[in-house]
Amino acid sequence: MDSRRMTMSDLTLDISEIYRSMGYPDPDSPPEDMKSIVEGLLERFRPVCHPRFHYIESTVEGLSPKGIIMKGLSGAEKYLLFIATAGMEFQEEIDRISDEGDIVKVYAADLIGSEIAEATVRECMKAIEADYSGTGVSNSYSPGYCGWVLSDQREIFSRFGGETCGVTLNDSCLMYPIKSVSGIISVGAEVEKREYGCAICGRKDCYKNRLKRIKK
């Protein structure tokens, strides 16, 4: 079990991923005005944000991940559940940005939030890999993806005994702050980190594959 409250400087943000999500093929291609918006927003988030993660050892009983996810978890000797979040401070700041009414800034801030949440998951993974060094650690898998029903969020959250990094679930089992990730990870000698997400998705009309599609 580990729990951590961080600052933005503890995270390794992949800025190129933010631009890739916007559709730009590489970090040099965005125009200066877009880079300036992203950098300005990062400066705004940096002093206020406190991303957090928490993970616990648990079981897969009572949860219903399917197909690709079960394959990704195979070889498990232990299962870990985690919650990672960009934090309420991020949520409050992006709410203020939304109130300002600039759709370009809101769009960029949303993508930055996604990257903060993903970078927080990466820190969580680093902590797990350090705590379980010498054994295999799987990728992280989340309800809502690859056929894993979102309602399992209730069971996952119930196992944290209230220590959920300030993340709550609404009636639809969606997390708040919005930029939060929950999920499962397996550890064990036979566990491998299998490709997941974009690496195995063949969806041709996904926005992340748009440029590849056009070039063909």
Partner: protein, 209 residues
Amino acid sequence: MAEFPQLHDAILTGNMNNAIAATKEAVASGAEPGDLVNNYMIKAMEDIGAKFEAGQAYVPNLLMAARAMKGALDVLKPMMQGSGVTSMGKVLIATVKGDLHDIGKNLVASMLEGCGFEVINLGVDQSDQKIVDAVNQHHPDILALSALLTTTMGNMKVVIDALTAAGLRDSVKIMVGGAPISEAFAKEIGADGYSANANEAVALAKSLI
């Protein structure tokens, strides 16, 4: 007749300040709001859409153009009441129950607004009942539904079934979109159309009106 290429160019390049200034100058020189909207502003949005389709522009370019368009439209709005300038149609847009993703939906909403549609944005995590109530209240020409998750895309059919049960299905065209959605899925659930991105959504909405 006076021409205002600077207004078209300001929107095409997403420069809101220049778009507002060009609109004010055009109005001061006696231009008709309807002429500015139809011949320069909507044309610029169509042009940025074409560049996007060709891979020469990105989502932020679409958003910046829509923002510039909105700034220019705000200048014209006080003059447009009773001027005979009508909207392209009314669109009600929502992300379905169980899904908090709103960036794609908001991008579609901004593009539709920029291209002359009246848009009512219901927000995210909207139940079938809330959407049925809103259709009943606003009488939109088009209902646009968004979902990003494979686990929530099924709620689009729940909404369509609820509209049918409420006797409203034939009163509104339904278009769907979102990362897991496909043309085949749209047909399967009985939607009238599917678009893969915000630019296609505008073309689809025009074709459904």
